[in-house]
């Protein structure tokens, strides 16, 4: 019995605060990736507007219901469109935005390779 009480105290003293800290971190991460639609360039995390306060409540509720971060983004996107998330999902409208930097990187590497090879070839000759 004493052991049970001891472990209960340990749990409430150390584990519960850690758990709630993690929740707060997760909440903050989600808020940071949500745009405040009625503010000028502020995220939900930065804003004290009425809209931001309501979104915070909804996100908290959905996390308590056991929904994942992606499910919350999906829900809010279905209501407000892609604009509400700072990091939009990969789709046909934005595939160039996601892929072009990698294409340019590979192409640039290839050009550098050709130039270096040509320079070496000229030096040898």
């Amino acid at each position: 019995m004493k052991l049970k009480i001891f472990f209960s105290i340990i749990y409430f003293l150390f584990l519960t605060p850690l758990h709630s800290d993690n929740d707060k971190k997760e909440l903050l991460e989600i808020y940071k990736n949500l745009r405040c639609l009625v503010c000028q360039g502020q995220s939900i995390a930065d804003s004290n507007s009425d809209f931001a306060a309501t979104i915070k409540l909804v996100v908290q509720d959905q996390l308590n219901e056991g929904k994942t971060e992606d499910e919350i983004y999906e829900f809010l996107t279905s209501k407000y469109g892609e604009w509400i998330v700072y990091q939009p999902t990969f789709n046909t409208n934005n595939f160039l935005l996601w892929t072009l930097p990698y294409v340019v990187l590979i192409f640039g590497g290839f050009v550098i390779f050709l130039v270096v090879r040509k320079t070496k070839h000229n030096k040898v000759n």
Binding site: L37, F51, T54, L57, V58, S78, Y80, G81
Partner: protein, 174 residues
């Protein structure tokens, strides 16, 4: 005639950049949620403002040919301006049921507002903390959503209803 690869590449890049700029200039960058017209509303539960035991959900809306869901508050000045159109609508078009959602308001103020301006709503629900408004994609009030009996959004009005919006609602529900 020999065309170098670099010239073709630069020309293609310029054309591509011009295309991107042209697309960007033609795109409407004013944010609104009107693009959600055509989507379906679901999973809502609206409690009556004066009676906690009375509520409506999507099932009740399916019985109406058309439903106009109007978000209002007593502290919202544009809501007063649009009120006459809601009254006209409730009188002139019996095909539309009007649901009022009282947004972040005090019950007494909402009741006084409806007493003063008259009540155009078939049902007045409360959204004290604003969470219900998120289910409808609301980001400011007044906003109104016109849905058909399949619960598909056929018109979303952001801001107060004016004569143009009023005529459009009548046209859509004929």
């Amino acid at each position: 005639m020999k065309i170098s690869i670099s010239k073709v590449f630069i020309f293609s890049f310029v054309i591509f950049s011009l295309y991107v700029f042209w697309q960007g200039l033609n795109k409407n960058n004013d944010y609104d949620t009107k693009s959600l017209t055509g989507s379906r509303i679901s999973n809502f539960h609206l409690i009556e403002i004066n009676n906690e035991d009375q509520y409506i959900s999507e099932k009740e809306l399916e019985k109406n040919k058309f439903t106009l869901i109007n978000f209002f508050a007593s502290w919202c000045a544009p809501c007063r301006a649009e009120h006459k159109y809601l009254l006209n609508l409730s009188r002139e078009n019996k095909e539309i049921k009007i649901i009022g959602v009282n947004f972040k308001d005090k019950k007494i103020n909402a009741n006084n507002f409806l007493k003063e301006l008259s009540n155009p709503y078939d049902f007045v629900g409360k959204d004290t903390d604003g969470k219900t408004s998120i289910l409808f994609g609301i980001y400011g009030i007044p906003e109104s959503i016109l849905v058909n009996n399949e619960l598909t959004v056929i018109k979303k009005i952001i801001g107060p209803i004016d004569q143009i919006q009023y005529d459009d609602i009548l046209k859509l529900t004929q």
